[in-house]
Symmetry: C2
Subunit: 321 residues, 2 copies
């Protein structure tokens, strides 16, 4: 959460002249989004977010992300709508960075969700899956099974400095996942990063989903697994079955999981935990000097992975029989 790129008044003015969104009344750098620079923008026409894409987002992927947000917003999903400029394009440039203006969404990212929040999140996730079904573009998941071995290779030699035995545990788990990873599950657009920071609530209702910059085409149930990991564990590492029940019931009320998805869920949870453990581990071992962002703990996901190793059936996550 940081402002990586300072935008001068002149640059901002010149950029905004390419849009039809009124006169700027104020703009402030906001501490939101780990990957990009974001400004809150208040104009005579409303409130917006100006996002500057920093190098971690591939520019070639932006048409997919922006097209997806437009598609989902037009389908009635509460997500930011990229505003098109006077040339009809959502993507521009500021301070040498690709940049967009998106609509501002009210709502609060709940850091400690209750079971009620988890239920609402499950329903919102299923709605996202349904709304994305007729989106024409595709983007393969760049952080699924095939990516994990190369990621691990970057960290393997130092893994045991983070936790004793982590290298060996991860090697065995990767071999297991490569063998059993499910194929042919119902698939489509998934968010792939629906952590609590990326879901806004007003009261008990979901008011917005944001940050679609990991969205891709993959198994719906993998997205469910990501959310079980991100929302249903307590800070002490325990799995909260009530939250799992609420999330899965919320999801199924909108989109029923198919038998093969139910069967695959424990392995998908292991894979999802592996994905976040690995990216966090690589970040942890490569904190640049003067970094503005504190790296997240990879061992949180090592512990979650260990929990999932003992799960035999999706019922143990709270799935109704």
């Amino acid at each position: 959460m940081a402002v990586y790129t300072e935008v001068s008044d002149e640059e901002l003015s010149a950029f905004l002249e390419t849009y039809d969104i009124g006169t700027v009344l104020s703009y402030k750098g906001i501490a939101e989004g780990v990957e990009n620079t974001n400004y809150f923008l208040h104009t005579t026409q409303g409130s917006y977010i100006l996002t500057l894409y920093e190098k971690r987002v591939r520019e070639a992927d932006l048409p997919f992300f922006l097209g997806l947000m437009q598609h989902l917003a037009l389908k009635g999903l509460n997500c930011p709508l990229p505003v098109s400029n006077r040339r009809g394009e959502p993507l521009g440039r500021v301070s040498g960075r690709p940049a967009v203006i998106i609509t501002f969404l009210d709502g609060i990212a709940i850091r400690r969700p209750t079971a009620q929040h988890c239920g609402a999140l499950g329903a919102a996730l299923a709605k996202l899956h349904l709304a994305g079904q007729d989106f024409a573009m595709h983007r393969p998941n760049a952080l699924t099974l095939e990516a994990w071995a190369p990621l691990f290779a970057q960290a393997e030699a130092q893994a045991d400095t983070v936790s004793s035995g982590l290298a060996e545990r991860t090697r065995r788990e990767l071999a297991f996942l490569a063998e059993v990873w499910p194929r042919g599950l119902p698939a489509g657009i998934i968010h792939a990063d629906l952590f609590t920071d990326n879901v806004f609530f007003i009261g008990p209702e979901v008011s917005g989903l944001i940050d679609f910059y990991f969205a891709c085409t993959d198994a719906f149930a993998y997205d469910v697994a990501i959310c079980l990991n991100a929302w249903c564990f307590e800070t002490d590492g325990s799995f909260n079955l009530t939250k799992g029940q609420a999330m899965l019931a919320g999801y199924q009320a909108v989109r029923r999981l198919e038998p093969q998805e139910v069967e695959a869920l424990p392995v998908l949870c292991r894979g999802s935990a592996m994905r976040f453990m690995l990216t966090r581990l690589v970040d942890w071992l490569n904190v640049p000097p003067g970094a503005l962002v504190k790296p997240k703990d990879p061992l949180e996901y090592d512990r979650k992975l260990n929990f999932h190793r003992h799960v035999k059936h999706a019922r143990e996550y709270g799935l109704e029989a």
Copy 2:
């Protein structure tokens, strides 16, 4: 510019229940203010800033700062109004920090002001001086002449590592200033830190003055000197006479400088440059590891000081004869 203290949802909710400002719709940490943590707060009743005071602001000074902002806002000056809680007090506590909610002001901090901006700033500064005249509280300037020698003592030994000869130049200047520092000038409430970050514009008009946490009781003309230093030099170090003329004319259109203030202006400019050179030098030599804020260059003010040493009369700043 950073968020030093993370506020949890629970802490925020509990804090806001002590206010009568509606239901929170969103809040976001904003990159504003070097000294404090600020959140943008949108509620069903309007937009606010939640400020958490970090350790650099003395808690004992807060009643002065908050009382001053309330006084000035009620006098019609565009400055944030501290919102009183249900007990009628503007000051509360969040996450172990003293905290206030102030009204949100629209406007843009202009980083490269034109002469027109300087003129508007001059007038706004004079209005602030007049509006503060019947404010009952007093606060001595903690960063004036008497503070400079102790500040310099913290940096003297290392000063020449920053710029060759800086220690000797500063010693001589401090001796000079101690000898000639003007006393008995017209005095009252001064802002004492009215840099471009702390002045909002909408178009050519000043829409707000913010950040009163250096405000104190001191000579009005010293505040003028601070603004000449902060607003009328170009980034190449040259003094822009047109901007100086505009600022001083703008000021005098609201409050005419007295002959003794005019006479004192060159020395006050030297003193003001010394004050910012010294605090920047101490910060420069004491950057904590992992600092979120980049220290400002003390030599910018060493160069400004050198410019003022050659000024014989306030006319050279653009004061009309």
